[in-house]
Amino acid sequence: MKSPPSDNTSSAAPSGRDVEPLDSVRSILLADVRRSIRELERRFDAFQGQAHSENESLSGQVGDLMVEAERLRLLTRELDNWSRDLKPEFEALRRKAQADSEGLIARITPVLSDMVGRTIRNSPNEMAEALGPVMGEAIRVQIRDSRKDMVEALYPIIGETVQKSVAEAVREFQRNIDSQLKRTFGPEGFLRTATARLRGVSAAQLALRDALPFSIREIFLIQRESGLLLAHSHPGTSEIVDSDIISGMLTAIRDFVKDSFGQGQNEDELDEVQYGEQRIIIQSGRAAYLAMVITGVEPEGLRARLHTFVSELHVKYESALKQYRGDPATLPNLQPQLARLVTDIGGGETGPKKMSLAMRWGLAGLGLLGLLLIALACFYLQFTIALYPMAFPSPTPTNTFTPTTTPTATSTPTFTPIPTGTPTFTPTPTFTPTLTFTPTFTPSPTLTFTPSATPTPYKAFAARSVWVRPSPDFAELRVDVLLVNTPVKVLSVYDIWMEVEWSDGAGYHRGWVPAEWITLREPVPAERVTPTPTQ
């Protein structure tokens, strides 16, 4: 314990009288200080006591901790001992587990297989969803790591798939060819053959060509600079929905290709884009371009046709096409022209290709010519058959001439050639409608006759087509033909012959024909009948 601080403010001892006031002043001045000092002393004592007690407490705790540490040290030592003891056992167990893993797998596999199989059966969709991403990734990794193995594994499947696809395509091709061949040998076939010939190809080439059908799916007319759609046509049912966006993208692609590959220096442009079986044929003009989406083999002359179409369009509407800024009112309706172009090209999705008008007329003309030739051939055949008996008479001919008053006359000549060359005539003295006579004679080159001098017309007509001779003798040359039903005038009658006259577009004709082929509308007067030599 510290003693209170001494008051050393005075250097000399004061006198007794002065001490009291001084003490009073001192006590007044130092009272607060003394109080503070005492308070500090009290606190110090309290702190000292507390520190002491805490020190004692800490000493106790340290002792406890030391005991605990000792216990842990012992425990650690014990654990080390256990570890040393267990290590061989653990090693033995590990070895055992490793050795028995195959058995473990064998025991677990059936359980797992059963679980997976049951899950697939019960929840196939969930299983597919769960395995899908993993499968994709697994295949990707497998292909990356062992491409060769994967190729070998997949080859049978892919090979078979490709084979199947090719076989199907070939079958389809074959079906098309069969269909074409059937059509070729049908009534339509002759027309197709004629068409093929007209087009300068064989029917087989045309059939093969038609087996690869050409069709137009879409046709766009697009403003060249902006890519705005000017007109659009789709002959089939498959319309591209965003035709205006397609137009824009196609234009962007054209520009991109031109700038990338042509550096924008030359005039070359993208004129075709191919995607699978579809192709986009592009025909450019100054203000607009045409894009035609097609499938199959394009017909010959398609590009030229498109070029002509675009050129004609520019001739008519170039200003409108160029100045179009999106207002439809400023643009002519070009859709019908596109539709017409599609029809002209014949690339509709259904129906065979149509022929041009000129070609149709040509074919019609050919058909008519063919019919005419057939008719002529028929006539010639009929005529030849009809005249055959006269040209080559039978050995025992008989001739029956039976003129009647009715306009129809029937006569059946019968010839009896006499080898001696002596003619025998049995003519009727007069020629009456009811007269029936059967002359038998042998034509002789020396035979003479005198026909009537003045021809008088008597109405008659040819019962059949018949050869005409310059004189009444079968030995004479056939100089003309009298066609069936031709009206004639009978000028005279001699024996079985009639001299007839008729006219047609070429003028008047005259000559002798066998009377049996002439049907009289009125009887011939007797004076027009020349008597036979025996008369």
């Binding site: 705005l228 031109k258 700038d259």
Partner: protein
């Protein structure tokens, strides 16, 4: 013949200013964004109703990448009736794109309405371009300037409709 009026508009701006996001907000897209990185353009469409009738807006979203040279972009710009030029409010350097793309449009001989857009207005804390600066550039071209956010959709529609209105006024 198209049944309704159609207008081609272009979206221009530096790389990553949010052009594609703005377009995606506005249109019903069909094509993948890959087209932007392959041929430098992606085209979308939206039909909007106007007092004068329906209008088919074909939005050509042009790549801001330097991979696509000026010539290709010039080709893509041809035939446009209007353009939206976009900058990123959080990147000061993209403001220069306003001038650059507007000049490019003039260079191909187009005198079309322009709308300037300061995009990403939702990133207030990161903003690096002031309204006054935007306005100053826009006034140079006597064109409106809008703040937008493709993220929140704020003013996106307005910007396109404003451009449509200006195009209609031009006829």
């Amino acid at each position: 013949m198209p049944s309704i009026a159609q207008k081609k508009i272009c979206l221009l701006g530096e790389f990553a200013v949010g052009k594609t996001s703005l377009a995606r907000r506005f249109v019903e897209g069909r094509f993948d964004d890959r087209y932007l990185s392959t041929i430098g353009v992606k085209i979308s469409r939206r039909v909007i109703e106007r007092s004068s009738g329906n209008l088919n807006l074909l939005v050509w979203d042009l790549s801001g990448s330097d991979e696509f040279n000026d010539q290709i972009q010039a080709n893509y710009l041809r035939g446009s009736s209007g353009a939206l030029i976009v900058c990123d409010l959080t990147r000061r350097e993209t403001l220069a794109g306003f001038q650059r793309y507007a000049d490019r449009i003039r260079a191909v001989g187009l005198d079309i309405p322009l709308v300037f857009i300061g995009n990403k207005m939702d990133l207030v804390e990161e903003r690096a371009i002031s309204d006054a600066e935007l306005q100053s550039v826009a006034e140079t071209f006597q064109s409106p300037c809008l703040l937008s956010s493709a993220k929140t959709g704020e003013n996106t529609e307005t910007a396109f409709l404003r451009l449509a209105e200006m195009m209609e006024a031009r006829g």
